[in-house]
């Protein structure tokens, strides 16, 4: 495995490593296949996009409400990763109006990136209730759709489980 031949370097430019290496030690939003959103600092990764996140919080978002849960260190298996996003707007994540004004003043803020849907922080109980409502609604819609499909002669043999 000792490969120090510099002529081999161009071939590894287009690898997962090269794509994620800029994200190390940065605060990232990771969306998982089960719909979870994790926000944490990327400390390590590999070619499968297995990730190590530090100081992770899980953010549950339902419509315009959100709530955070402190989680700590995560090792995420790569197959569960949907996307990894680098967080730039500090307003949504730190909610500081003064910081927001400073960024606007310094012209650092991209108006296109302005959060068009301001999220409101609510308690965990509230978000769990809202989340349950959303799941129930989805299930109800799915059942209605399936029964309509069965009526016109389709057979339903798979249940949609990915909800990210």
């Amino acid at each position: 495995m000792e490969n120090t031949d510099p002529s081999l370097l161009p071939s590894i430019i287009f690898t997962t490593a090269a794509q994620l290496v800029d994200c190390v030690d940065k605060k990232l939003l990771v969306v998982l296949r089960d719909g979870r959103k994790l926000i944490g600092i990327l400390r390590s990764f590999d070619q499968y996009a297995n990730l190590v996140l530090q100081e992770t919080i899980e953010r549950i978002i339902v419509e315009s409400m959100y709530s955070d849960i402190q989680r700590g260190v995560y090792i995420v298996r790569g197959e569960n990763v949907v996307l990894v996003g680098e967080i730039v707007s500090f307003t949504l994540f730190f909610g500081s109006v003064a910081f927001d004004l400073l960024l606007t003043y310094l012209n650092l803020k991209d108006p296109e990136k302005e959060n068009s849907i301001p999220l409101r922080e609510v308690s965990l109980d509230e978000i769990y209730a809202a989340q349950q409502d959303e799941i129930d609604n989805r299930r109800r819609r799915e059942l209605t759709k399936n029964s309509k499909l069965i009526d016109i002669g389709f057979s339903i043999d798979t249940q949609q489980e990915d909800m990210y």
Binding site: F14, T16, Q19, L83, I117
Partner: protein, 100 residues
Amino acid sequence: MLFFSFFKTLIDEQVIVELKNDMSVRGTLKSVDQFLNIKLDDVSVVDEVKYPHLSAVKNVFIRGSVVRYVHLPGAVVDTALLEDATRKEAASQASKMGGR
């Protein structure tokens, strides 16, 4: 490896990546790797009301395994060249098989 090479020719183009969860992300293709993992810059989600969590994100790494479609600008795809490359790839595969 053909699609990997093909995507490399599309770097710096505007694309829309549709994921298997029906979410679509628009952005500038910045890099792609052998698993067709995609990195996009200056991203915006097509249905931002439904996915508010991405409005604070500027660039994303999307795992190749969750991609359903990549919408490309038609003008940048040279289909004749692509057909040619496909034939060449098929031919080289066939000759490799024959050599065994």
